[in-house]
Every structure is written in structure tokens, then in C-alpha cells.
């Protein structure tokens, strides 16, 4: 039996924005690779060229991915890797560690993408994975520090405090901002990074952090207050 062919407008169709409805049900599904091998030349759908793929939005690329063409994942990675790496760098402030962690985030996303239900945008979904991953990693770090018999104050935070006390003329502003962020507890740090560095809306942050909107607002306000205190000399300098 001949497989149903997608219509000519297949690629131009936008997935519906209705929450809870799978976009794929509206979009004719691409034949699987295994089936495509058995097709005749007439039946075979021409694969969009790289340019066309790059112009598609995330949701359409995910639809293609879910239809069996796993190669499109590379485009999604290229599109979002920078944001994810920057987010993780803002949270951890450790370049050596970021590559591995980003890779883990994208591997996890690759494994979960076949089950992606288009209820949220891809990048908030990806952010959620990254935030969860960073939480796990911070928990592990805390455990490692605990088992190395080093208290939190004496260890990591103590180091940051000493670095922040260096005279302003000898410090790099970017470095100081990063160090200031490190002094915040994880939930405040993530919230303020998502808001002020990544520019997400309050609603998106609530979705990424899986908490109430009011909680997000309060966390960001408190994070800014704390950060204001730790970066006071720098803020004075900026003012002058």
C-alpha cells in the first residue's frame, strides 16, 4: 500500500499555538527513514535543503525530528547552544565545566524530544532541562564539599568574598558581576540570571523554574537586593 504523501505546503504550515494539542496531528507526518528506503522515487519526499531547514522555526524542526529525521537536531543545537552555555556559565562561572554540562543538557533534550508535546516553547523547555541539570550539579558540588570536610563559608563562598574585597582598580567589572552572582543562593541566582541576563519574562521564568509567578517576582526582588549589597562599590563606581 502506498504511503500517504505530505502536501506541498507541508513545510510552510505553522503548528497550532493551542496548549495541549500536539502539532503533529495537524501536520502530515513525514515517513520514517525505514519506510523511506522502501519507497519508489515517485513516492519519496524530497528532503528540504539545509537552507530551508535553517529557516524553519523550532516547532517545525521538532515535528521533523519526531517524524524520524534526527539530523535536524543539529540545527536546534546550533540555534540554542549559546544561550544554554551562557546560562550555565552565569550560574556556575566555570568555563572548564560548562562544555560538559551543556553537552549533558543537549543529550537529555535529544532523548526527551520524541516526547515533546508542544505545550511550551522549545527554548523554555530546554532552559528547564538546563536549570534542573544545574540544580543537580550544585547539589553534587555541595555534597562533595561536605565530604571533603570543608564548610560552605570557609570554602567556595569564602573564596568569593576574598576576591570581591580586591581594590576596584585591580578588578574586571565582568568578573566582579560573575563573582557577585556566585554569592547568591541557587534559586535567587537562577531567577536573576534568567531575568536580567537572558531577558526572559516573569511568566517564562515561572515555567522554567516550575514555580508560581509571585514566587519568581519575590525571588528576583530579593536577589537584586542581595546583589546590590555585594556589588555596592562597583555600583558606586558606575554611578561616578
Amino acid at each position: 500500500m502506498a504511503l500517504p504523501l505530505p502536501s506541498a505546503e507541508w513545510y510552510s504550515k505553522e503548528p497550532p499555538s493551542t496548549v495541549g494539542v500536539r502539532a503533529r496531528s495537524f501536520v502530515p507526518s513525514m515517513p520514517r527513514r525505514e519506510d523511506a528506503i522502501l519507497m519508489t522515487n515517485e513516492q519519496r519526499i524530497p528532503r528540504p535543503n539545509a537552507e530551508a531547514l535553517r529557516e524553519m522555526n523550532d516547532e517545525m524542526l521538532i515535528s521533523i525530528f519526531q517524524s524520524g529525521d534526527r539530523d535536524v537536531y543539529r540545527i536546534l543545537v546550533e540555534r540554542h547552544q549559546e544561550r544554554i552555555r551562557n546560562l550555565l556559565y552565569s550560574i556556575f562561572h566555570d568555563r572548564t565545566f560548562i562544555d560538559d554540562l551543556s553537552q549533558e543538557v543537549f543529550i537529555k533534550a535529544y532523548q526527551a524530544l520524541p516526547r515533546f508535546r508542544f505545550e511550551a516553547s522549545f527554548y523554555t523547555w530546554l532552559y528547564r532541562i538546563a536549570v534542573n541539570k544545574s540544580r543537580d550539579e550544585l547539589r553534587k558540588k555541595k555534597l562533595r564539599r561536605f565530604f571533603s570536610f570543608q564548610t560552605l563559608d570557609e570554602g567556595f563562598d569564602g573564596e568569593i568574598s576574598s576576591r570581591l574585597s580586591v581594590p576596584p582598580e585591580n578588578r574586571d567589572t565582568q568578573e566582579l558581576v560573575s563573582l557577585g552572582l556566585q554569592t547568591l543562593p541557587e534559586k535567587f541566582r537562577t531567577a536573576v540570571v534568567l531575568k536580567d541576563i537572558d531577558g526572559l519574562s516573569y511568566e517564562e521564568i515561572a515555567e522554567v523554574m516550575q514555580c508560581e509567578l509571585g514566587t519568581v517576582k519575590s525571588r528576583i526582588s530579593r536577589a537584586r537586593s542581595m546583589l546590590k549589597k555585594s556589588l555596592k562599590p562597583l555600583l558606586e563606581e558606575v554611578k561616578s
Binding site: E82, Q103, F106, Y110, Q174, S221, S225
Partner: protein, 428 residues
């Protein structure tokens, strides 16, 4: 204006900076800012902070990231594939098949649970029956009614004790491994030359004091043997699992109370008669305590016995009043002796074999060859027993003995100091 606490104002200022306040909220904040200079400074600082954070330098894009990720994904796929013994696409089918098999097995077991429970409880029921019919009815008699010095010496030196006058059947204890013993009852043992106490005295030449000590030791051993092997109706036999230790203990004690030249003669006597133990001396470091004699209790304290019948075996605690038994045996000596012999004959001859053939179980759990049966006992934690002793008693490399491999079946009891009833384990 409704009064608000400072934290709430800070939240409002934060939202004001982000321009997400409603019109009313915005008007409220602006009203306050007009009249409150510190509040204005706070908002100003928030704006500077926001600008500082948003101007934070981004990382340089990593061109090779996607390629490295592809390689990592490929590697992971390979790992996943190598974990499965079949192609990954068959995984759902295999899972479904396994689930179906499990469900079918579960349903089958559930519908036939009566049969299964019967099968598993049959053995324990048999053990319980034996215990109730034989042990609780109090029909046990000591197998050895009167062990004299010569018999005690024979047991001490060779680990064998004749069960009849012609020494055709015997009970034998044998140290098989460093940690275990074997108790055997049967006919086809290598017969050792009987060594009487007089013969021992003539060969070893102990002094008068040594003779008295050895004499009393043998008397104690005799009592101990009497209380260690019991026999009852329905082919039941109860053996104290620590009986084999008595053998080595006695050789140690005899050797300990001898002087070096006498000990050499004693060792020669053991060697010539192919006794299971050899005696050697060693120097003990200063300050170490030297035990001369090991204490031999006349009666067993813990009353644990291995109860053996032709088709079952269990481990149990039996309270036996040996004093009243002895009195009864002295009173009706002949009658009891005849009964004892009859029981023994019945056990060693046809009945054992007949019962064995009637056993419905695929492997009879407790019968040896045609001529004897044996019980192996593992006794843990005895390596250091002779650590501080001047005289060391070691199992002799036997010239001729029963090869455990050649036995068709025997019973092994592990952890015999556990008081719970232990079902029989077969060793092919």
C-alpha cells in the same frame, strides 16, 4: 495610603524597574519616589544593576560544540546497543513477550498454588512427623550403654566405636577437612587393630600419675560417648554434632600429659596403627598461656542433636535425663540391650534400604551407600583452638580411607550451632 512594609516596597520597586506593574501600581510607586529620596536612590541603583547584568559579556560561540555533541550521541547509542543481546528494535517485542510469560506463569502458579505449597511443605512436614512420632514420644536409648576404658581409648585414638560384639558395624568420626567432620555408621570401614588400655600402657610407658590422669580421662570420654549417640524406634538415630571433636580432644589430652620420650612412643603407636591424628611438639613463646588439658564435660550442656532417619534429617534440641536412663538400663539391662540390638540391626540392614526405595522424592535426602550412611558437619571458627598449646594434634594423611567423592550420597550440616531445625541437604 495603605501602609506597606519595606520588603513589599522593594518588590514594587523591582517590578517598577522591569515595567511590569499595573497602572495603579506604577502611580503608587511614582508618588512615593517624588517624596522619598532614598527610594529614588534605591530605584536608581536597581536600574544600574540591571544595566550591569544585561551588559554581562557573553561567551564566545563554540563552533565545534554541535560536532562534539553528535559524537557523544553516537557513542551513547553504541553503548545502548551493546547492552542489549538483540537488536534494539526488538526491545518492545521482547519486553511484551517477557511480560506475557510472567503473567502466564503467575496465573499458573496462582491456580495451582495448592500443589506448589504441598510440594514445598512435604519435606518440612516429614521432618515434623519424625520429630513428633519419635523424639517427643521418648523412645530414645543411648546407643552405647556401657563404654569401658578400652572402647573409650579405641574411640580416642581411631575415632571408631564398634556397634556389635563382632565389630562388624561401627560408628566412626573422621576429620575430613580443616573445618569439618564426618560421622559415619556402617560396616565397610577398615578395621583398626584393637588397642587395649594395657597395650597402650605397655607401649607408651606412662608413670603412675600419668596413668591415673589418662584413666580418668578415658572414663570421662566413656560417659561423654554414652550421652552423644542415641537410637530410637522407626530407625531414628540422634548424634551429637560435636562428637567428632571429642576424638581430637582426647588425643590432645593424652599427649599433653606425657613427657617428650613418651610422646614419641605415643606417636609411634598412632602411626603404626594408622590413627587419624598425629602428635607433634612445638616451642611456645614466653608469656603465652600453656593449656595442659582440655576440659571434657561428662554430659553435653547444650543438648543439640542431629536427628537422622532413613529419609529425613533435622537439627534439634533434646532434653534427655541420662541419670534416669542409666538407672532404667541397669534395672532392665538384658531387655534393653536386646531392644537396642534389634533397633540397630533394623537400622543397618534391610529396613534402611527398603525405606529408601519407598521414598517418593527424586533424590533420597539421607542414605549413603549400601553399607553405611554418613553425616558431614561443618564447624566454623576452630583454627585457633590449639594456638597456645605445646602439643599440636593434626589430622594424619590417611593411607586408606573413605573417599568422600566415592560416596553416592551423604549429608552435610553447616552451622550446626544454629538451634533451628535444618532440613536435609543432599550432596551428589
Amino acid at each position: 495610603m495603605k501602609r506597606m512594609n519595606e520588603e513589599r516596597w522593594k518588590l514594587f520597586f523591582s517590578l517598577y524597574v522591569d515595567e511590569v506593574l499595573s497602572k495603579e501600581g506604577q502611580a503608587l510607586v511614582e508618588d512615593r519616589l517624588k517624596s522619598d529620596a532614598p527610594a529614588r536612590a534605591y530605584v536608581e541603583e536597581l536600574r544600574r544593576l540591571k544595566a550591569l547584568l544585561s551588559s554581562k559579556q557573553k561567551l564566545v560561540p563554540d563552533i565545534g560544540f554541535a560536532t562534539r555533541l553528535s559524537a557523544a550521541l553516537e557513542e551513547q547509542k553504541m553503548d545502548e546497543r551493546s547492552l542489549l543481546p538483540f537488536p534494539r528494535r526488538y526491545l518492545p517485542a521482547v519486553t511484551a513477550l517477557t511480560a506475557v510469560i510472567l503473567v502466564v506463569t503467575g496465573v499458573y502458579i496462582n491456580t495451582n498454588k495448592g500443589q506448589f505449597s504441598h510440594f514445598f511443605s512435604e519435606k518440612s512436614q516429614a521432618v515434623r512427623d519424625v520429630y513428633e512420632k519419635n523424639v517427643l514420644q521418648g523412645s530414645l536409648l543411648p546407643l552405647f550403654s556401657k563404654v569401658d576404658k578400652d572402647q573409650a581409648l579405641q574411640f580416642s585414638l581411631f575415632g571408631t566405636l564398634a556397634l556389635d560384639d563382632k565389630s562388624e558395624t561401627a560408628l566412626r568420626v573422621d576429620e575430613q577437612t580443616e573445618k569439618g567432620y564426618r560421622i559415619e555408621v556402617g560396616k565397610d570401614f577398615k578395621k583398626n587393630t584393637p588397642i587395649t588400655f594395657d597395650h597402650f600402657l605397655a607401649e607408651v610407658k606412662p608413670t603412675v600419675e600419668q596413668k591415673y590422669i589418662i584413666d580418668s580421662l578415658l572414663e570421662l570420654t566413656g560417659h561423654r560417648i554414652e550421652s552423644s549417640v542415641l537410637i530410637g524406634d522407626n530407625n531414628i538415630m540422634a548424634i551429637a554434632p560435636d562428637l567428632p571433636r571429642l576424638n581430637r580432644m582426647m588425643v590432645t589430652n593424652i599427649a599433653s600429659c606425657l613427657e617428650p620420650p613418651q610422646r614419641i612412643r605415643f606417636e609411634r603407636l598412632l602411626e603404626v596403627n594408622d590413627a587419624p591424628y598425629s602428635v607433634s611438639s612445638r616451642s611456645v613463646p614466653d608469656g603465652k598461656k600453656v593449656h595442659v588439658l582440655q576440659k571434657i564435660p561428662t554430659l553435653r550442656r547444650n543438648n543439640d542433636f542431629v536427628i537422622i532417619t532413613p529419609d529425613t534429617m533435622m537439627y534439634s534440641r533434646i532434653q534427655v535425663d541420662f541419670d534416669s536412663l542409666r538407672r532404667r538400663m541397669e534395672k532392665d539391662f538384658l531387655k534393653i540391650e536386646l531392644h537396642r540390638e534389634a533397633l540397630l540391626k533394623k537400622m543397618m540392614a534391610k529396613d534402611f534400604q527398603r525405606i529408601r526405595r519407598n521414598i517418593a522424592l527424586p533424590i533420597p535426602p539421607m542414605v549413603g551407600s549400601e553399607e553405611f550412611f554418613s553425616v558431614e558437619i561443618s564447624v566454623p571458627g576452630e583454627e585457633n583452638e590449639q594456638q597456645h598449646m605445646r602439643v599440636v594434634i593434626q589430622p594424619r594423611v590417611r593411607k586408606q580411607g573413605i573417599n568422600p567423592e566415592s560416596l553416592p550420597r551423604s549429608i552435610r550440616i553447616h552451622r550446626w550451632n544454629d538451634t533451628a531445625a535444618t532440613p536435609a541437604n543432599t550432596v551428589p
